[in-house]
């Protein structure tokens, strides 16, 4: 059954073993049914592959009467699509692993946050399902801002966005997948009884300002499309479908509603009809969204007309933006500016045991380290969560048991 699921999902068994930290030969033996999968492995495997552990535990009973469509979760159908590569599917495996670990960690620390459920419910129940999709997105964003801390104040929320998502129980992951054409995607992770929305932004060639929009766009999908398995947004593929228009309108209104634009322009002394590279860069730096989204929002708010937007889109603000915002710097430039402490912290988030090394979300790493410092998990458990060895964990975060030897 495991092999059938892997085939149907387009996952290579050996690559999957590497990501899960299992001996490839042993994993192949599990996949072929030569060896029984230990019961303790079933929850992780089920969560990663998005199947019920019982399907993996009782393969012979089920395999005879099940077709590929019966066993392949929607998620994997989406990730088998045209243009998608092994790297995409491998990234999904890693992200789903993080989702499973986060659930496990929250159970151990008794700090489970499911605030997202009530927020999503409020939004879904309030939005008029018969309204035009663009209006649905905007209305959803307004309710979303009102019912969360993001609506407090009229400033850009990019710097608090990731912490907010984490606090509400949403998993936000930004990793570079250079081979991929996926710009962002959203799907649910965790077991059927404990799902959690996950929003992903491919950080390869996407600025921090762009990623803020991607994350919020994917959040829009997570709210409105919980039953589609996954929603994918590809680089340079404009989203004309209704769901894409709705998600983009949600992202724009959630990040740069009229009051944020107004406040930014007033505090910076910008005149909408006299924008240049410098003032545009200042507005981007202040609102925390990329140029295109800023201009679209300004047009929707009535500050700019179509011709002005077309002209302003052609202005290259990169050089000016780098002068006014650290977020516009490359990683190397940013680290040079912030010093060694920041460099060390970034190193502390990097996995070493996965076949594909990734940088884990800050909130996730913090949660693991905090649980370790509170003696809620052992360092070897913390190391497993961070996909590094125990000695690397102790080196990175210190040994609180240094004086103990039992």
């Amino acid at each position: 059954m495991l092999q059938n699921i892997l085939d149907a999902a387009g996952l290579d068994a050996r690559a999957c073993a590497g990501l899960l930290g299992v001996n490839p030969d042993l994993f192949m033996a599990w996949a072929s049914g030569q060896e029984a999968i230990p019961e303790s492995v079933l929850p992780l495997l089920g969560a990663v592959l998005s199947v019920s552990p019982s399907v993996l535990a009782n393969p012979s009973k089920l395999s005879r009467r099940m077709t590929e469509a019966d066993i392949t979760p929607q998620l994997w159908f989406k990730f088998r699509g045209k243009g998608l590569v092994n790297a995409d599917r491998e990234a999904v495996v890693l992200i789903r692993m993080i989702g499973h670990y986060l659930n496990e960690l929250e159970e151990a620390t008794r700090q489970k946050s499911v605030q997202w459920k009530s927020i999503f419910e409020t939004v879904r129940n309030t939005v008029d399902i018969q309204a035009p999709v663009k209006e649905q997105g905007k209305a959803a964003a307004r309710i979303f801002r009102q019912s969360t801390s993001l609506g407090h104040g009229a400033t850009g929320v990019g710097e608090v966005l990731r912490g907010f998502l984490r606090a509400t129980g949403i998993l936000a992951v930004e990793i570079p997948v250079s081979e991929s054409i996926v710009e962002g995607c959203s799907f649910y992770v965790g077991s059927a009884s404990s799902p959690r929305p996950c929003v992903f932004a491919n950080s390869h060639h996407a600025t921090w300002f762009r990623r803020n929009v991607i994350l919020m766009h994917e959040l829009g999908h997570a709210i409105f499309e919980p039953f589609t398995g996954a929603t994918l947004d590809l680089v340079n593929v404009p989203g004309d479908e209704d769901i894409e228009i709705r998600a983009q309108s949600f992202a724009q209104e959630a990040l740069v509603p009229r009051e944020v634009l107004l406040h930014a322009a007033q505090s910076l002394g910008c005149k909408w009809n006299a924008l240049n590279a410098e003032s545009l860069a200042n507005l981007v730096a202040s609102t925390h969204v990329e140029q295109r989204t800023l201009l679209n929002a300004a047009q929707d708010a009535g500050f700019l007309d179509t011709t002005q937007v077309e002209e302003l889109r052609r202005i290259d603000i990169a050089a000016s933006l780098r002068k006014v915002s650290e977020h516009a710097l490359s990683t190397e430039e940013y680290l040079e500016k912030r010093g060694t402490e920041e460099q060390e912290w970034i190193g502390k988030r990097t996995t070493t045991l996965t076949a594909r090394s990734i940088r884990l979300p800050i909130g996730y790493v913090n949660a693991v380290v905090e649980a370790y410092q509170n003696r809620q998990i052992s360092p070897s458990k913390g190391a497993a969560y961070l996909m590094i060895t125990e000695s690397e964990f102790l080196e990175r975060f210190g040994d609180i048991y240094e004086e103990v030897e039992v």
């Binding site: 030969d25 042993l26 496990e104 458990k381 048991y401 039992v406």
Partner: protein, 226 residues
Amino acid sequence: MPNPSLIICDSDVLVQFFLSNELRPLRDLKTFYGIQPAVVQEVDAELRWLGHYAARFVPQLDKSLKNGLLIRLDKPQFQSLLSKALPGASWAGFQTLGAQYLGLVDKGEAYTHAAGVVLGLPVASDDYRAIQVLQFQMQNLPCPVLRSFDVFGFAHEAGLLPIEDCEKVRSCLLKEGRWVPAALKHTSFANGIANFPLRLRDSTKAPTSGTQAPTMFSDALYITRI
């Protein structure tokens, strides 16, 4: 007090034996004391792909399983031990406890300690940090939890492992950056072992006042040659 039928070993302890290529103490426990070293399925899987060691220990593990030096505690094997286990012990109970411990410590330790608690058998684990966490979270621990150097020290004390070979083990593990007790870190095995209170001892070394069954993870276990 009869000898336990098994000692359930965690990955970190077996790595000490595999790295130093010194398996005689485990073999002698089985031959002379009738105590079978065993691993839970999770430790078996862990040893087949262990951190930066990757598949390094697979040949030694496979050989040990094949020649019976180690046995794997799979479901049938586990259930065969239930008749001598504590009342209420079951495979399902073991899985539940293992899953509970898994929220706190890594997979190998979680299921090794769970098996020891459910079956009422000693375990071998060098991860004292995991023990601290389980204690702090008020979880039960097996009695006793032996460390790799309890087994090496015992083998030496029982006349089964010459002191030169014990020293080779110590030097090798130090060189590999592995855990060596503080008492043996900066001095030879011969000089340091007296300062390392052994948790595994031959019954001939028992105090004249007699011995009791271990009730704490750090109590000594006295075993008798068969």
